[in-house]
């Protein structure tokens, strides 16, 4: 007849399971603040426009700036026509340089070339540079 009594091994297993459960709970309580503390903050997801003075981007010149935590560049390709692009090369993530005399972007890492519109001209980049919306308002260029 089963008396309902538990042997030492069952009791030990029960206690170990309880201990493991409490340990896992305490571990989770400790890990969550740690994750939140180390997780990146700000920069991502913001939709605020970035304002650059018109005078900073003369014809044929490029102006690099920080766009929500990522490098970006503004170019005046023709008089009054502005283009805003990501300055991150689509090949391996290096930052492109503006070559004024040739009027194109050059990636110094593997020689990728991009047109002022962001299109790939030569080299290994698989995609054009990402472009952003630009509007002119009250003497400023608003990107985003």
């Amino acid at each position: 007849m089963d008396t309902g009594r538990q042997g030492p091994s069952e009791r030990r297993l029960f206690l170990l399971s309880m201990l493991a459960g409490v340990g896992a709970l305490l571990g989770a309580i400790a890990v969550w603040p740690l994750y939140r503390y180390l997780a990146p903050q700000g920069g991502g997801g913001t939709t605020e426009q970035v304002a650059i003075p018109l005078s900073d981007v003369p014809l044929g010149a490029a102006r690099f700036f920080d766009y929500h935590g990522r490098p970006a560049v503004l170019v005046q390709v023709q008089a009054g026509e502005y283009v805003a692009l990501s300055a991150v090369c689509t090949h391996l993530g290096c930052i492109v340089k503006w070559v004024g005399e040739k009027r194109h972007f050059l990636c110094p890492c593997h020689g990728g070339q991009f047109a002022p519109t962001g299109a790939v001209l030569a080299g290994p980049p698989p995609q054009p540079l990402a472009s952003y919306r630009v509007i002119v308002q009250s003497g400023k260029l608003l990107v985003g």
Partner: protein
Amino acid sequence: MDRLKTLMDWFDVRLGVREILRSNLQGYLLPRHVNIWYSLGAVLLALFTLQFLSGILLLVYYLPAADKAFVSVERIMNAVPYGWLIRTLHMVGSNIIVAVLLLHLLSVLFMGAYKKPRELTWLSGFGLFNLSLILCLTGYLLPWSQLSFWATTVATDAAGAVPWIGEGLVTFLRGSPSVGAGTLGRFFALHVVAFPLLFLGLVGFHLFCVRRAGISVPPFGPSARPAGVGTTFQHEVHRDGIPFFPNYTVKELAVVMFVLAGLVAITVFAPALFLPPDALEPADPFTTPDHIKPEWYFLWAYQTLKIFPSKLMGLAAQGGAMTLLALLPFLDRGEERRPFHRPLFLTLYGLGILLLLGLSIWGHRS
């Protein structure tokens, strides 16, 4: 479970892990009447581990530059998720460590555990105590608040009392004639790299001494007798003792958890306990706050410097007391460890504690 056993077998064949575990856990026997005071070493290990981890986490956001340090600490406290928790744990933890270190030191003194053959354990432990205080002092400057700036100014200024080289020593400690960006740079390097490395080495040596000499029998109860120490090395064995694991480990774990609960309670319910208003103002080298005082564990030293007519005499008194304490096992060489069979020691012990408390309270109120 079978996989775990297979993995264990793999290591056992190569390194004999089971034998190491057996001789250091179940086979390592401690005195049957070992008391709660013996757990303080484990409590300190747990607290120091927490300090190392929280310190590494603080380094993620802390900026060690005079014009950025205070703002970066403010950001950790107010903007970084759970930054307040990490920083407050680090700050409260340092205070609790000093309190537990004092209890550990006092219990070792009371039970005469510093005596032969444990002189090296005592010396390394005393070194760790002093190194911990230095870690507290160097870490105190890092938030670059009014409190940290002026507390460091006063603390480093004390070195100026050393004859002939005093002024040069102060400038060397600070990296400039007065506390400034140079001081922050060197205190930062010492606090996060140099002293922790030294500390780890010393902890390793201390634990080696503890394990090698064996745990001393508590000098209480009718069976307690003066330990007969021979002239050759002998590991103190306790054949009728209790296993280190699980019997004693469970007791130690309970004390560790109790202290950690206290740490968390202060961190959550009284985070401002160790944060006076001056700690919330950025350092201003041109304005000394009124009634600037050191942390509670330096109050006795602060008051000693005040009561002696010259700073040099105050420093010499402090140095003399600390040297006496460090060399105690070589001065007190009797084998008797039972506290109530050592009336002279017990009287000095009591008076010493009263003097420490009295000077600290006087320093706090003065």
